[in-house]
């Protein structure tokens, strides 16, 4: 592949779009054209629905799509993480079978990693995959899988070797979610939403060719996925800015977005909605209360300082400077901010803090904040885990004494759950 200039790329994509873009196409038909041409994922290899362009060219292509409001490939859920993993670790058969339908949105995927027992200790998982005859037979329970009840396929981490140390006995599979041995049940949260599923696998079957990578490489492969997850944490924002329009393809895209976003409606509330505080205080008259003013000020100082800290980290990164401590702190800071925000919202709402839904302040948003904020200090790594990471990796303090690594998993005390 020869190097192409930005102008050349721009000209190429523009020409192709002029030829092919039609908002009256069906969403899947259009995306098949993207997959055929490679313009949907320009940085992917040309043999797999891409054009083999440098990653830096992707924004150029995106700009041209946006200019004429052309729709891109499907991006919701874990599909992009799965695709990246399969591109890196999958067989040719995997790629042929799955990549196109990931891009078109025809197949939906879920991630089956966490278990009720695993919590902060993912590698301690105990879902079992055994070779029986010509198949893998899977038994176990997974949890925190978004949209598993609608998924066609799942990526599964299961223990295949119990005599290996905990990180070495895991394998990575693709599992067919439509089979009878797999049951996904919605898992309701304390705020009433059910954004996640529990997935029960009872003698579920996985054909041998659905093992990704080698047996025992599961942890290494899953770590790739998790790294993609971290890197793409912000992508939600990017792909949900559907442009909208009356034509068929925009209607179909809007529907797809609505479905994909449904589990996430409470996420902004989880962070505490600091943005609502001043308006709420003004509307309730509490902005005149010196005690409330102090609490608001403390919250705003903390929240703005956390934001500025994140920007310092990003600025250092963009300047290519060594990562300072400020980068590792965002998660922990957000817990403090969310908790303080819930406190301030309660202070502002007074008796109204007892009310939810249509009876509650801001049409129930305040109640949703109060009941969602506890997730911030847990989801994606508890505060306790963050403090471990910060003290060990940033402050270089001694690591916690481990009793669970370096010996056969069979001999390690297993994770339990309440």
């Amino acid at each position: 592949m020869t190097e192409m200039s930005e102008d050349q790329v721009r000209a190429d994509v523009r020409a192709w779009l002029a030829e092919n873009w039609d908002p009256n196409l069906g969403l899947i038909e259009w995306r098949n054209r993207l997959a055929d041409s490679g313009w949907g994922m320009p940085a992917w290899p040309s043999e797999w629905h891409g054009r083999g362009l440098p990653v830096g060219m992707a924004p150029v292509v995106e700009e041209e799509f946006q200019r004429i409001r052309a729709v891109g490939v499907a991006r919701s859920g874990v599909r992009m993480l799965v695709a990246a993993t399969l591109l890196e670790h999958g067989t040719e058969a995997h790629k042929a079978k799955f990549l196109r339908r990931i891009l078109t949105g025809e197949d939906t995927w879920c991630q089956l990693f966490s278990e009720p027992g695993s919590g902060s200790d993912l590698a301690g998982l105990t879902t079992r995959a055994e070779q029986v005859g010509n198949q893998w037979v899977v038994n176990g329970q997974k949890v925190w899988s978004t949209s598993a009840h609608k998924a066609d396929w799942g990526v599964l981490l299961a223990r295949t070797d119990w005599d290996e140390p905990k990180h070495q006995g895991l394998s990575y599979f693709v599992i067919d979610m439509s089979q009878p041995g797999v049951e996904a049940r919605p898992l309701r949260q304390m705020n009433g939403h059910a954004s996640f599923n529990e997935v029960f696998m009872t003698d579920a079957a996985v054909p041998p060719d659905m093992l990704v990578g080698e047996r025992g490489e599961g942890w290494a492969i899953a770590t790739t996925t998790l790294m993609h997850e971290r890197r793409n944490a912000d992508s939600l924002r990017t792909w949900t800015t559907g442009v909208g329009g009356d034509e068929r393809i925009y209607q179909e895209e809007a529907e797809e977005i609505a479905t994909a976003m449904a589990p996430y409606t409470w996420y902004p509330q989880r962070a505490g909605r600091v943005d609502m505080v001043l308006d709420r205080a003004r509307a309730t008259g509490k902005l005149e209360d010196p005690v409330v003013r102090q609490e608001i000020a403390k919250l705003l100082i903390m929240s703005k300082s956390a934001e500025w800290t994140a920007r310092r980290a990003r600025a250092a990164q963009q300047l290519g400077r060594p990562q300072g401590p400020e980068g590792s702190l965002g998660k922990l800071a957000s817990s403090h901010v969310a908790r303080a925000a819930a406190h301030v919202h309660t202070l502002i709402s007074g008796s109204d803090a007892m009310l939810a839904g249509a009876d509650g302040p801001e049409d129930g948003i305040i109640a949703e904040i109060l009941l969602s904020v506890p997730a911030t200090s847990i989801a994606g790594g508890t505060d306790e885990i963050q403090r471990n990471i910060i003290s060990e990796r940033v402050l270089k303090m001694p690591k916690e004494h481990r009793v669970d690594t370096g010996r056969p998993f069979n001999e390690v005390r297993k994770n339990t759950v309440g």
Binding site: S114, P116, G117, G119, S120, D121, G124, V143, W144, L187, R188, Q189, M190, G192, V291, V292, R339, T346, L347, S349, G350, S351, D352, A353, M354, L355, A356, G357, A358, D359, G360, G364, A367, L370, L371, P374, A375, S377, I378, A379, T382, D383, E384, R387, E400, R402, V403, D404, V412, R413, K414, N415, T416, V417, G418
Partner: protein
């Protein structure tokens, strides 16, 4: 159960070591002469009876079943609680068919109910309505209502707060005219299921606040269940449109209502102390069975230290609640300050304990299936019920400073 509140059985104490100046000296003098710092053997036995009853009838499965219903309680359990245990008449004097006990025993019951999260109209009927009648009702009204409230036959509630959400009778706007009420009450505990509602209303614009009884079936009364954060405690909004009402207090019920609400705040503080204790216990129990990284999570020092701080938090809350109940039982001069101190202190502690309990459970603690959120929601609602902690701290300062 006779003699439960016999003051001579209580433990008396030597002067405290730290000198307190100003008005606090007076507080302390009071402490030295009249406050109890331990429960009597009879009170402990009584607590066990209540505990056993709640153990049988208020499992979290029971709580979950009841919180999904409209009325939010089990009529059978209510009958037993009233009949067998006599709890509904606990603080009603014997002359009105009650048990004639005091605020300490009421605190014990509320603490245990907070621990077990009982779903029942106890706080609305046996605390709020009963205390309002006791503290501000006329003799006739007491004769009329208290025996049936004590027996549990009648379920009543108290409606004070309106749109602004204030429980200070001075903020009441609703007006009674020609034996009828017009306007709105909000945050009425069990307001949708109570059979009689005692309503604070002014005798004409700018008039004194009196207490009025309204029948649940009265003409022009519309009741609507509010959508609540805490489904274990039902709240209602009541609309009155020229609804017939009977004055059941003297012409000026304000002082009586204020006292009733203070005693109710102390009862609520004891409930919160019980809730906080339940959260501590649940958190510690969980860390002693949950394994992560090959170890009980309760063996991680950071978890241990959080639990130690939580224990301190809970014990301080209990002390404030017990002490206020004792002050109420003795009709101590410092009751207003101690009631507010207990309300503010315990609701902060309960909230913090509930937050910590979820955190120590991790992801599972955020699920509906796990029980912690039931207490978390009660903690959130008790935090602001009868006034926020900040409001009560300010009240406390008005009495102590």
């Amino acid at each position: 159960m006779t003699g439960l509140d016999e003051p001579q059985r209580r433990q008396r104490f030597e002067p405290a070591s730290a000198p307190f100046s100003g008005t606090l000296k007076k507080v302390q003098a009071q402490l030295q002469t009249s406050m109890a710092f331990s429960f009597t053997d009879e009170q402990e036995a009584f607590r066990e009876v209540v505990q056993r009853f709640l153990g049988d009838h208020s499992s979290t499965a029971d709580v979950r079943r009841m919180m999904e219903t409209d009325t939010g309680f089990d009529a059978d359990v209510w009958r037993q609680l009233a009949g067998e245990l006599g709890l509904t008449g606990l603080v009603v004097p014997e002359e009105f068919g009650g048990q004639g006990f005091g605020d300490v025993e009421l605190g014990i019951v509320m603490e245990e109910m907070g621990r077990a999260l009982l779903c029942a109209p106890f706080f609305s009927s046996a605390v709020l309505a009963t205390l309002a009648l006791l503290e501000s009702g006329t003799d006739a009204a007491r004769q009329h209502y208290l025996p049936r409230l004590a027996s549990g036959e009648l379920r009543a509630t108290l409606a004070v707060a309106e749109d602004g959400g204030s429980w200070d009778p001075a903020d009441v706007q609703m007006i009674a005219a020609d034996g009828a009420l017009t306007g709105q009450k909000r945050f009425v505990v069990d307001g949708n299921s109570a059979e009689v509602i005692f309503v604070a209303a002014r005798n004409g614009a700018g008039g004194d606040v009196g207490l009025y009884a309204v029948d649940a079936n009265a003409a022009g009364l519309e009741r609507r269940a509010l959508n609540v954060v805490d489904p274990t405690r039902k709240l209602a909004e009541l609309q009155f449109a020229a609804t017939p009402a009977t004055l059941v207090s003297g012409p000026d019920a304000r002082d009586g209502l204020v006292t009733a609400l203070r005693r109710a705040a102390i009862a609520l503080a004891n409930e919160s102390a019980g809730g906080a204790q339940a959260m501590l216990q649940s958190a510690v129990d969980y860390t002693l069975m949950r394994v992560q990284f090959g170890r009980l999570i309760g063996s991680f020092q950071a978890i241990k230290h959080q639990c130690a701080e939580l224990l301190l938090e809970v014990e301080l809350a209990k002390s404030a609640a017990y002490h206020a109940a004792s002050a109420a039982a003795e009709r101590d001069d410092e009751l207003p300050a101690l009631a507010s101190a207990a309300k503010a202190g315990t609701s902060d502690s309960f909230m913090r304990a509930a937050i910590a309990c979820i955190q120590l459970h991790g992801g599972i603690g955020f699920t509906w299936e796990q029980d912690t959120h039931l207490w978390f929601k009660r903690a959130k609602s008790s935090e602001v019920m009868l006034g926020t902690p900040a409001y009560h701290r300010e009240l406390m300062m008005q009495h102590w400073a």
